[in-house]
């Protein structure tokens, strides 16, 4: 149990440093912004209380805001992410429930489940982020364009992160 706590703390720091030191400095153009930190909230244990989830989201998001002069943008959208996580998990629950010992990553849960649930949450997260940042209904098309483009790239980045930093489970034969 304690080893998994340490694992999550390390992941917290890793995601935070990646976001602040590297991803915030990258400019792709077309208003695209890369965000990897939602993955941290997504990979927390399934049975975790939603209150703790939201507190952690508040903490991580606030920390990133503190370091990137965005004044609560990341914290607000990560809170939305944490709020919707249990709801989405319930909707896409596997037939025989979640295995509480397994982490909800790409390898354990399968590709299609991950794309559906993480993709949907990421779309909600990004949409809220750009909506709040631009804060003009007359530019809704621009918000949607930015959301669409950024979600795709952030998603690819999160998949890459898992291939690089997570242990793949051995095939049971």
């Amino acid at each position: 149990m304690s080893s998994s706590i340490i694992q999550h703390i390390i992941r917290f720091l890793l995601v935070f440093l990646l976001q602040v030191l590297i991803l915030n400095q990258i400019e792709i153009g077309y208003g695209i912004q890369l965000m990897i930190y939602p993955l941290f909230i997504f990979l927390l244990p399934v049975e975790m209380n939603v209150f703790y989830l939201m507190l952690l989201a508040f903490g991580l998001g606030g920390f990133i805001d503190y370091f990137s002069n965005t004044f609560g943008l990341h914290a607000s959208s990560l809170l939305v992410f944490a709020y919707f996580r249990p709801i989405i998990f319930k909707i896409f629950a596997p037939r025989d429930g979640y295995d509480l010992l397994l982490e909800t990553n790409l390898f354990n849960m399968g590709r299609s489940w991950f794309i559906r649930s993480f993709g949907l949450l990421l779309i909600i997260h990004h949409f809220w982020f750009f909506l709040l940042e631009i804060f003009k209904l007359s530019e809704i098309l621009y918000i949607l364009k930015q959301t669409g483009l950024s979600v795709v790239l952030s998603f690819i980045l999160c998949v890459l992160f898992q291939y690089l930093f997570l242990r793949k489970p051995k095939k049971e034969l």
């Binding site: 400019e27 208003g31 939201m54 998001g61 004044f71 914290a75 607000s76 631009i134 621009y142």
Partner: protein
């Protein structure tokens, strides 16, 4: 009472979410509109140190470009030095000049963190209260105007760059003297726009846009950019002028903060008139 408790229990997740969201959104909208504290921004000592360390590692990436900018600026300034001017009136004794009084002082600084892709972009500089930085001072670099100081920490400060929603720097077209305000639409980091230029005068393409110096933040005549195209605003007798910034906000590193030594005098003088309006 019991109903109320039951209500809270039923919606406790949503209520908790709303509470946290409320805190965050208050923070967001308050700091956008009334910057009061430097504590939760990169002007605080902790984050400032963090970015200074990062900057120490990455500053070499743009060294060559920055050096050439500075050299060009030096060349321009050498022109005005006494030694490069030829004396025409050799018989006269030169006495100390009392016609000019120093109005602007410049504090050199370095950008240690910046953004340019957001809706509201900020720079973090490695100077703060200790170096005499105050809120609303102007900031510029060798190529042009950058923005104004947004909040100040002990050793660091945050600059609201020209790439923010309501930057409103008073600028004018150098050749004609027509003046207006600088705006940014939030999309292209190389282009801004100019509002308040009436369309009964012609605006030449590629004419220079410089600061007007009316608010006492910038001296007159600092370059901002060039007019790229003009368009008629529908229903208003105004031009919608698009300008190309002369500064590349992505690569700027060495900057100057402007201290207007006579600003208090100007503000005191203008205060009663602004109250009337």
């Amino acid at each position: 009472m019991r109903n109320f408790l039951a209500f809270i229990r039923q919606f406790r997740v949503l209520l908790f979410f709303a509470l946290l969201q409320g805190i965050v959104l208050t923070w967001h909208f308050r700091s956008l509109n009334y910057p009061r504290s430097q504590y939760l921004t990169t002007a605080s000592t902790f984050t400032g140190k963090f970015y200074e360390t990062q900057h120490e590692i990455t500053q070499y990436l743009n060294l060559r470009r920055n050096n050439s900018w500075l050299q060009r600026e030096n060349a321009r300034l050498h022109k005005y030095e006494n030694k490069s001017l030829m004396k025409l009136e050799r018989n006269l004794v030169k006495i100390d000049d009392t016609l000019h009084k120093v109005q602007y002082a410049y504090i050199p600084a370095e950008v240690i963190n910046s953004t340019y892709t957001r809706r509201n972009n900020y720079f973090t500089l490695n100077v703060g209260k200790k170096q005499g930085i105050e809120k609303n001072m102007g900031v510029f670099s060798a190529n042009g105007v950058l923005g104004t100081v947004h909040s100040v920490g002990e050793h660091f400060c945050i600059v609201k760059s020209c790439l923010t929603k309501n930057i409103n720097i008073a600028v004018m077209i150098e050749s004609s003297g027509e003046h207006g305000f600088l705006k940014w639409d939030g999309k292209d980091a190389r282009r801004g726009s100019l509002t308040g230029i009436s369309n009964d005068s012609k605006v030449e393409k590629w004419s220079k846009v410089v600061t007007r110096g009316s608010a006492g933040i910038f001296p007159q005549g600092l370059p901002v950019g060039k007019v790229e195209k003009t368009k008629v605003l529908e229903g208003k007798p105004l031009w919608d002028v698009t300008i190309l910034f002369s500064e590349n906000f992505r690569r700027v590193q060495r900057v100057y903060v402007i201290k207007n030594l006579l600003r208090d005098e100007q503000l005191d003088l203008e205060k009663p008139y602004q109250a009337q309006q």
